[in-house]
């Protein structure tokens, strides 16, 4: 079995990060925008801190890290589950489930159930899209095409 290809991991991670940023932008700025305003209002959170340049830079960076994480997970589980979109979906689902469980644990305090469910489903789409894109780029030397 060949080792994880670091160069392809970086390339796949960057692509996955770009895809996840696009998905998150659509999710949070178009679909969930009014929900986040509602959360900020009922939880005494300053809306300007959620939309500041620093916050936006963090959101972009977070998605790039997620991009690397889903492709890393895909590469790590490939010997067990085989290469291809099926394994990419499993990798994306694993990363999503960890995040969704964290979000669920804060549903009683920070989020509302409505935002948790809709935000969680949109996050699933983001993770799966990122994983599929990143896995499409990722390959190893002994892959036979």
């Amino acid at each position: 079995m060949s080792k994880i290809s670091i160069g392809k991991l970086v390339a796949g991670g960057v692509l996955a990060g770009v895809v996840m940023n696009i998905c998150d932008y659509i999710s949070n700025n178009l679909i969930l925008a009014t929900d986040w305003e509602h959360i900020a209002r009922i939880r005494n959170v300053d809306m300007s801190s959620m939309t500041s340049g620093t916050a936006l830079a963090v959101y972009v960076l977070v998605d790039v890290i997620f991009g690397f994480l889903v492709v890393w997970t895909y590469a790590a589980i490939r010997p067990r589950l085989g290469r291809g979109p099926g394994t990419a979906i499993v990798a994306g689902f694993m990363v999503w489930l960890a995040q969704a469980l964290l979000m669920a644990s804060y549903s009683v305090s920070f989020l509302t159930w409505d935002v948790l469910i809709r935000g969680g489903l949109l996050l699933l789409v983001t993770c799966l899209a990122g994983a599929l894109a990143g896995a499409w780029v990722y390959s190893e030397p002994d892959d036979l095409d």
């Binding site: 939880r43 997970t73 067990r80 694993m94 804060y106």
Partner: protein
């Protein structure tokens, strides 16, 4: 290569969940207590409701589901990195990173202070790695 032993994933996950629940309970009643209280006040929550059993149940269930996820991740990564605690730590750290990065995003949104984030993240790292190691110790393949 043997396929994933799902029975052992569940058993290992439950063991990991017990470990995670014990560490979480101790941490939330000791060095994270002030952070939890401050967060409850910020969000305008009833302190009695925060300490009620109905508030604790989701956390307990989530720790068990997370335990199963960690052991599944360990099982899935085993052919790549080999059996043993090193792979358990890699599996645990991968999921810890997914969680801590989301939490950092929440911190940027003003949900908690940076100090509370650092303490909570450190506790999550310990919980995840110990839970993963315990769960992986139980996991076996044919």
């Amino acid at each position: 290569m043997a396929s994933i032993n799902y029975g052992r994933v569940v058993i290992g996950g439950l063991v990991g969940g017990v470990v995670a629940n014990v560490i979480d309970m101790v941490a939330n009643m000791t060095f994270l207590k002030d952070d939890m209280t401050a967060m409850g006040q910020k969000f305008g929550m009833d302190p009695a409701a925060m300490q009620s059993m109905s508030a604790a149940v989701p956390w307990i269930v989530i720790d068990f589901v997370f335990g199963i996820l960690v052991v599944f991740t360990y099982a899935a990564m085993r052919p790549r990195f080999g059996p043993g605690p090193k792979t358990a730590i890699i599996a645990g750290f991968t999921l810890f990173l997914a969680v801590s990065v989301v939490l950092y995003g929440f911190t940027t949104m003003g949900m908690m202070s940076t100090g509370a984030y650092m303490r909570g993240t450190l506790e999550a790292l310990v919980t995840t790695l110990l839970g993963a190691t315990a769960g992986a110790a139980v996991y076996k393949e044919a």
